[in-house]
């Protein structure tokens, strides 16, 4: 059924293209096809030690397959790592399509077709067994994203995506070629890397190529533009699912193909190879700068985009540190980020669907109008801010523990302060969009959108109580790389330094909440409209909401302090690089003067040079 899944995706994308005029039917077809990876996921569950009831696995999928595609051979095989990331993508994907069924209006067939191709590419990437297969599917994924980006009609998004996409592809290709040159094989399993500077350069290029997709600074420039100018269901999948593939690749190449001893050849810093340490530092910087930039955004989508960049920085930190604890933390963070950021982008989409606005300063008071959207977003925001009553905290906690375990004195505070910064922008979303003055008379989001959001909240709730279950499915990955899994029970995670018991926290919170509730219900209360208190029930003439809802320039003092340093820093740098290339380009263009005399002089000169070179000299 594995090969058939790929066929189903290709045929499905053609069918939905043909159904362009019937968006509803197209959505149904697309969702039906999108469930296939989910079945594969269930069928392969024993691979990571999960035993699911057999009636769930309706379809059978091969665990390994090879398919001759003309010049090359497509080699596919499911691994625990692939399974983990497939879990993230396959669960998110049908739901964003469900959301899209009411959100995407014009040219829906194209949208679903491109989405299906994106998933096709990701599916192949996660199963790839050699570099050719990996690259083919990776690029299919990349260009189908480009097709979706084109729908946004935004210059910066298109140019930055394709430019950085090419950069990423070429870095990968270059790196793959170096590995091929040194090992003589494309198969991941057969590569025995010698520790030479050339291989290190190859691995560095590959990691840099993945960093583009994972939006690590300073390679993140495309992400805010793309995230803020594309349709929300796609962005939810891009940020939630596809950006993880960059980190999937990093783990695969840093711990599957290369190994810790390989990197340790060039020395270690506190038990972490310099290479990993550098990645961790970049990750920490990304986490911090992404957070600072997110605080300063007014466009909801840009805020979420920078937040994505920042949160994914943590994943890079974990991968860089590379201890079992850190890798577990990185995977856990990736999982959390998938679900809460998908929910947030979808919630933003739902808000836009009803109000038609993106600017936080133009929204407000939707909490009472769209309570279910608000609650889903609230939960996701709690997870984003890593409040200890959510699964978001467990991931961050693992990463902090890992950093302290290695004695990282300078990286850890940056991680922590970026975590605090997350409160600031999290509150900005809450206040600017959902709290404060009600300014739009709107209804709750459509059912399909609510269902999509709430199903995505579900894993966050489950892993809030039982973070150990995530550790269960990450353990086989660590074992595959010869590492010791982190000690855990379903709700207690134990490290060398401390333990974290979710049940204790949750029960204690329930207890204290109960106490507070008793205190609170002591006296009755009455609900009055907002204006009644501070406007004494008499709104003045020419009552302007904008003056009352203090959400524009919310963190203005903050921007005064940080704005100059952070805003557009990376973009400027890349613009200089582009300007350099355009300078060269001008030089090359000047060759073609448009004059026959010059052109014929070139020919004669060329002739004379050749004659001189070969015959006389």
């Amino acid at each position: 059924m594995l090969m058939e899944t790929f066929y189903a995706f290709i045929i499905g994308s053609l069918v939905v293209l043909a159904l362009n005029r019937f968006p509803r039917i197209a959505a149904v077809v697309a969702i039906a096809v999108s469930l296939l990876p989910l079945f594969a996921l269930i069928y392969w569950a024993p691979l990571v030690g999960l035993t699911l009831p057999s009636y769930l696995s309706l379809l059978r999928f091969e665990t390994e397959i090879s398919y001759a595609l003309g010049p090359g051979t497509i080699l596919l095989q499911i691994t625990p790592l692939g399974w983990f990331f497939l879990f993230l993508l396959a669960t998110t994907f049908p739901l964003v399509l469900l959301f899209a069924s009411s959100f995407v209006r014009d040219n829906a067939g194209g949208f679903y077709a491109s989405m299906l191709l994106t998933m096709l590419g990701s599916f192949g990437v996660l199963l790839a067994r050699d570099m050719l297969t990996f690259f083919i599917f990776w690029e299919i994924m990349s260009w189908s994203i480009l097709a979706l980006v084109l729908r946004g009609h935004d210059r910066r998004a298109i140019v930055s995506y394709l430019a950085f996409g090419s950069l990423s592809a070429m870095l990968l290709l270059f790196g793959f070629m170096i590995l091929y040159y040194k090992t003589g094989t494309f198969l991941f399993g057969e590569m025995a890397l010698e520790a030479t500077p050339l291989t290190l350069a190859g691995i560095s290029m590959i990691v840099a190529g993945f960093a583009v997709k994972g939006a690590l600074m300073p390679l993140h420039v495309w992400a805010p533009h793309v995230y803020s100018r594309s349709e929300e269901p796609f962005v939810a999948f891009l940020s939630g699912g596809l950006s993880k593939l960059g980190y999937f690749g990093m783990i695969l190449f840093m711990y599957g193909v290369a190994t810790v001893p390989f990197f340790a050849t060039w020395g270690t810093f506190r038990g972490v190879p310099y290479f990993g340490y550098a990645l961790a530092v970049i990750g920490a910087f990304t986490a911090f700068a992404g957070t600072v930039l997110a605080i300063m955004q007014d466009d909801l989508r840009k805020l979420l985009a920078y937040s994505s960049i920042g949160q994914l920085g943590y994943v890079a930190i974990g991968i860089g540190i590379g201890t079992p604890l850190a890798l577990t933390g990185a995977l856990f963070q990736a999982l959390n980020h998938t679900f809460f950021k998908a929910v947030l982008f979808l919630a933003a989409g739902a808000v836009y669907y009803r109000t038609g606005r993106w600017k936080i300063s133009e929204l407000g008071g939707l909490g009472y109008k769209m309570p279910f959207t608000f609650l889903a977003a609230l939960f996701a925001i709690f997870a984003l801010a890593s409040i200890p009553i959510t699964s978001g905290f467990a991931a961050k906690w693992l990463l902090y523990e890992a950093a302290i375990e290695q004695g990282f004195l300078f990286v850890t505070p940056i991680m922590l302060i970026a975590g605090v910064g997350a409160f600031l922008y999290a509150y900005k979303i809450l206040y600017g969009v959902f709290l404060g003055e009600p300014r739009h008379d709107v209804r709750e989001a459509p059912l399909s959108q609510l269902v999509a959001m709430w199903i995505l909240v579900l894993p966050l709730v489950v892993f809030l109580v039982f973070p150990g279950w995530v550790l269960d499915i990450t353990s086989p990955i660590l074992q595959e790389y010869g590492m010791q899994p982190v000690a855990h029970t379903p709700y207690v995670i134990t490290t060398n330094l401390a333990a974290y018991n979710t049940i204790a926290v949750i029960l204690a919170l329930i207890g204290t909440l109960f106490l507070a509730l008793i205190l609170y219900k002591w006296k009755p209360q009455k609900v009055v409209p907002h204006e009644d208190n501070y406007l004494a029930g008499e709104p003045p003439e020419n009552y302007e909401y904008i003056s009352m809802h203090a959400a524009s320039n919310y963190y203005e003092p903050f921007e005064d302090v940080f704005g100059g340093i952070f805003r557009k820093g990376a973009e400027r740098g890349w613009e200089i690089v582009l300007a350099g290339a355009e300078f060269l380009s001008n030089g090359a263009r000047r060759i073609y003067t448009g004059l026959t005399e010059d052109y014929s002089i070139y020919i004669l000169l060329f002739f004379l040079v050749l004659v001189g070179w070969w015959l006389l000299w």
């Binding site: 362009n20 595609l69 003309g70 010049p71 090359g72 040219n107 194209g110 050719l132 690259f135 083919i136 690029e139 299919i140 990349s142 260009w143 097709a147 084109l150 009609h153 210059r155 298109i158 140019v159 995506y161 394709l162 430019a163 996409g165 090419s166 950069l167 592809a169 070429m170 870095l171 290709l173 270059f174 070629m177 170096i178 091929y180 040159y181 582009l578 290339a581 355009e582 060269l584 380009s585 001008n586 030089g587 090359a588 263009r589 060759i591 073609y592 448009g594 026959t596 010059d598 052109y599 014929s600 070139y602 020919i603 000169l605 060329f606 002739f607 050749l610 004659v611 070969w614 015959l615």
Partner: protein, 462 residues
């Protein structure tokens, strides 16, 4: 199956081309249909020939009753067969885009058939002077096609093409004269057999003459001044056809020159160097280009450089890459050039136009599974197995530059006032894109012939 003589491929369209005015006398509107039918017939013939070659090996045919080496010999090799199919199949598809035009120019159709026939002639001939003649017919036809738009730019571009083309043909003639002066033969096989008996200097001189002459047609860097001007001045379908027929024939001639005719080591080195220069200059020049046709022309130059690099690496993998690059470039560029009429705005808002153009861009920048990807991949694999990191670095750099300017291209197609293409042009690019997809999904049907072509070339065959 009846083995049809390959000469039909050249003779039929030539004959029908000169019959076209007769048809035109009956009804000028009939001419288009007539031409299309002739071209389709030719495409079918070329496919038959291709099947024959793949099944039975190289097909020879002697013309005009003399035995080789005196008589003219046609020899259809594997690479020749692939390119013959490429040219002859794409030529009617590109011609299809002419149907929407109001004008019914008999001259245009004639020239079109002429160029198709003579480009095919270049890739299936076995005689040096015959090749020269076909080169000249191709060139004359192309000059006329470029000028067919009858604007100032068209005339200017055409004139530049004529000047450089004539100088190029003079160089080819001198090369032929040198070779003939020493070896008294013009047959490829004969020359290849006895090329070692030529004095070193004469051999090098003839090589230089020929590469300078052919290089003008094959769009190699210092010799390709006409390319941007002619492509910019030409109408969209002419530019499209130029990138299918003449340029591919030119690069085929280069391949024959460096592999069969004068296979000297320094020849490969030189063409490698030229390829690198062509690639870098072409891609860089495209980066800042605002005129879409001109940008595509520079991009074509870059692609030619890439193909030349692949050819001059002298290995099976690289030659397979070259075949894929040629096919991919011909298909993708013809799509993009047809889409370049009035490109300034809104074109990509129509899904039927956006789809093929998007696929074209993907193939050019080397995205899988399109042929451009296989070309780049195998080229990289070959370079990597030699550890030629400098060249890889340059290719990587130019690929990123390509990404930048094609992204600008895509953006420009999205915003602005709504324009569209004629129905026939849309049909044409859709057919081209389908071929692109088919090759992408079933690359083995190109791969196997490509491998045979590579082996044959490396063995000194056609």
């Amino acid at each position: 199956m009846v083995a049809l003589p390959p000469v039909l491929l050249i003779a039929l369209p030539l004959l029908f081309a000169f019959l076209a005015p007769l048809v035109g006398m009956v009804s000028r509107r009939m001419v288009k249909l007539y031409t299309l039918l002739v071209l389709i017939l030719n495409a079918l013939l070329s496919i038959l020939l291709f099947i024959n070659v793949m099944a039975n090996g190289v097909v020879y045919e002697q013309l005009s009753g003399f035995y080789p080496p005196v008589g003219i010999l046609l020899s259809v090799g594997y690479l020749g067969a692939i390119l013959a199919v490429l040219i002859n199949v794409l030529s009617p598809v590109v011609y299809l885009s002419y149907f929407g035009e109001a004008e019914n120019s008999v001259k245009f159709s004639m020239l079109y058939m002429l160029v198709t026939a003579s480009s095919t002639g270049i890739v299936i001939t076995g005689d040096l002077f015959n090749m020269f003649v076909f080169f000249e017919i191709t060139a004359v036809g192309s000059y006329g096609l470029v000028a067919s738009l009858r604007t100032k730019e068209a005339f200017e571009g055409s004139f530049k093409y004529i000047v450089l083309g004539s100088i190029g043909s003079a160089f080819i003639l001198m090369g032929i004269a040198t070779i003939y002066g020493y070896l008294k033969t013009l047959n490829f096989y004969d020359i290849a057999l006895r090329i070692d008996t030529m004095p070193e200097t004469a051999r090098l001189m003839s090589f230089i003459f020929l590469i300078v002459g052919i290089g003008v047609e094959a769009e190699i860097f210092p010799l390709n001044g006409w390319v941007p001007d002619a492509y910019q001045g030409a109408s969209n379908r002419v530019a499209s056809f130029l990138s299918v027929g003449p340029s591919k024939a030119g690069i085929y001639a280069i391949a024959r020159l460096i592999f069969t005719l004068i296979p000297i080591m320094s020849g490969f080195e030189l063409s490698l160097l030229l390829g690198i220069f062509t690639l870098v200059v072409g891609e860089l020049a495209a980066l800042r280009q605002r005129d879409v046709k001109r940008m595509l022309a520079y991009s074509s130059i870059g692609q030619m450089g890439l193909i030349l690099i692949a050819l001059s690496l002298h290995s099976e993998t690289a030659l397979v890459a070259a075949v894929f690059l040629m096919v991919g470039h011909a298909l993708a560029k013809s799509i993009l050039f047809i889409g370049s009429r009035d490109y300034s705005g809104g074109l990509l808002r129509n899904p039927l136009i956006a789809g093929p153009l998007f696929l074209g861009v993907l193939s050019i920048v080397g995205m899988p599974p399109f042929p451009g990807f296989w070309g780049k991949w195998y080229l990289m694999v070959d370079l990597a197995s030699r550890g030629a990191w400098t060249i890889i670095l340059l290719i990587v750099f130019t690929a990123i530059v390509e990404g930048v300017y094609y992204s600008r291209y895509l953006f420009r197609g999205l915003n602005g006032e709504i324009r569209t293409l004629t129905k026939s042009e849309i049909a044409s690019i859709i057919i081209l894109a389908s071929i692109l997809i088919l090759i992408g999904l079933f690359p083995q049907y190109l791969y196997d012939p490509a491998v045979m072509a590579a082996r044959s070339l490396l063995g000194g065959g056609p």
